[in-house]
Subunit: 251 residues, 2 copies
Amino acid sequence: MSHVKCKGHCYTCPVRHQSIFSELPEESLEATIQDFHTSVLTFESGETLFRQFDDSSESAYTLRKGLIKVTKSLPDGRTQIVRILVAGDLFGFDGFANESYNNTAIALTDCEVCRLPMAELAVLRKSTPEIDQSMVARLIKNIRQSEDMLLELGAKKASEKLASFIMRLSLSDQNLSFSVDALDSAPASEWSKLHLSRSEIGSLLGLTIETVSRFFSDWKRKGFIKEEKGSIQILDATALKNAACTQGACN
Amino acid sequence: MSHVKCKGHCYTCPVRHQSIFSELPEESLEATIQDFHTSVLTFESGETLFRQFDDSSESAYTLRKGLIKVTKSLPDGRTQIVRILVAGDLFGFDGFANESYNNTAIALTDCEVCRLPMAELAVLRKSTPEIDQSMVARLIKNIRQSEDMLLELGAKKASEKLASFIMRLSLSDQNLSFSVDALDSAPASEWSKLHLSRSEIGSLLGLTIETVSRFFSDWKRKGFIKEEKGSIQILDATALKNAACTQGACN
DNA sequence: CGTGCGGTTGAGGGAGATCAACTAAAGTGG
DNA sequence: CCACTTTAGTTGATCTCCCTCAACCGCACG
């Protein structure tokens, strides 16, 4: 189960400069936030933070540490990962639009989150317009990422999806939250931690576990990528890119 | 080409109550908006309003009349429709996050849009926090729709995609912007205007034109749907639903 | 030591893409 | 007005990518 670690302290927060409070000047921070009852919760890998259709009026969250997958499911159980959250990401904000959660949040690793009570946040928003301002910017980025994913899912072949997935990983160690821009420029020589299982990669890209496994194996045999103990490395970025294309796609 | 119809007038705006200015009280509207140089533009069906990677610092838009498709494309030309805008929708807001347009907007029908100059809007946001407030709410709805689409594209089969597409159409004549909620309750007996060509439906759902055509024909033969002069009608909603499932999906 | 879970690999089939021919409707230009 | 082209849509035949089903491996864990 989730565990309340302590009351949240913005001063010590590892992601304060990335949070929705980032625009607040240091000195006013104390005044505005002091009776704001945030608390830091920890979740173990695999735990569910909230579920689709749960009432969202209670709280929104900021991820301080770890990774979280955000999913949606069909009645029969088929599941789509719609987003992967990294440190600094705001999530569970459906309450801002008076809606219940539209998705399910599950910890991919052990995590630490800051819980923001909606009721107090609503008051704070009124008095501190900077919050909405920085929310707008991050919501727009969220939309851009979702649109990028729509293109991935709707228009690409399996090999292309997987190749660009791997290349995105290597762009930034943390860059599980996807923006597709400038995929070309990846020099890509370092190890990147792969936090997802084969079935999670499949659920993210709309593929089966076997298809994911097959392409990975193939590319490892051909020397395009290397994998070791949950980490992955690109050995030949251009070959990988071409592989994605010649294996049925492009031209 | 686009054509400037006139200076925008919020008082006469058909979508004022749905716009980002909807929270502004009537009396302050005049004062806040009066030196705001909005203009109403018209576009003919097929015209492009802006393109991905265009500089977005100039303006954002509100759709007053008509329908617009928002698309993203791969280098080789494959195109995904990521959203369909209806009257009242705000779009082209990438400038709020200091980014260039992430997508392309093309008129599906003759349209009328209100152009909001970014520079002035930025000033107005500072002085009028209600704007950001209502932006937050509508951006969240946008995200929810995108996530719903991710589930459609990533997890569903062709027949399911098409069936729920048709059912969404019939939910609201205007409801080309998709929220998947409560698809069950559709009584669906009226005609709905189908504003999309077969190839556009395909581009929206990640299918080919032929696949779309085949299912439509099949369902028409079976008497589940009827089509006439660009409009579509559901004759047997439960059969349609089942068809989507038995034709390879579900169970 | 067995059991379960994540991953790999193979064989086969089927959903949907591709290629192609054809129809119907709509514009174009004499 | 009619011949011509163009465009959207339908339908068929074929192909192929990816899913499905299945067996199997390695490893962690009780």
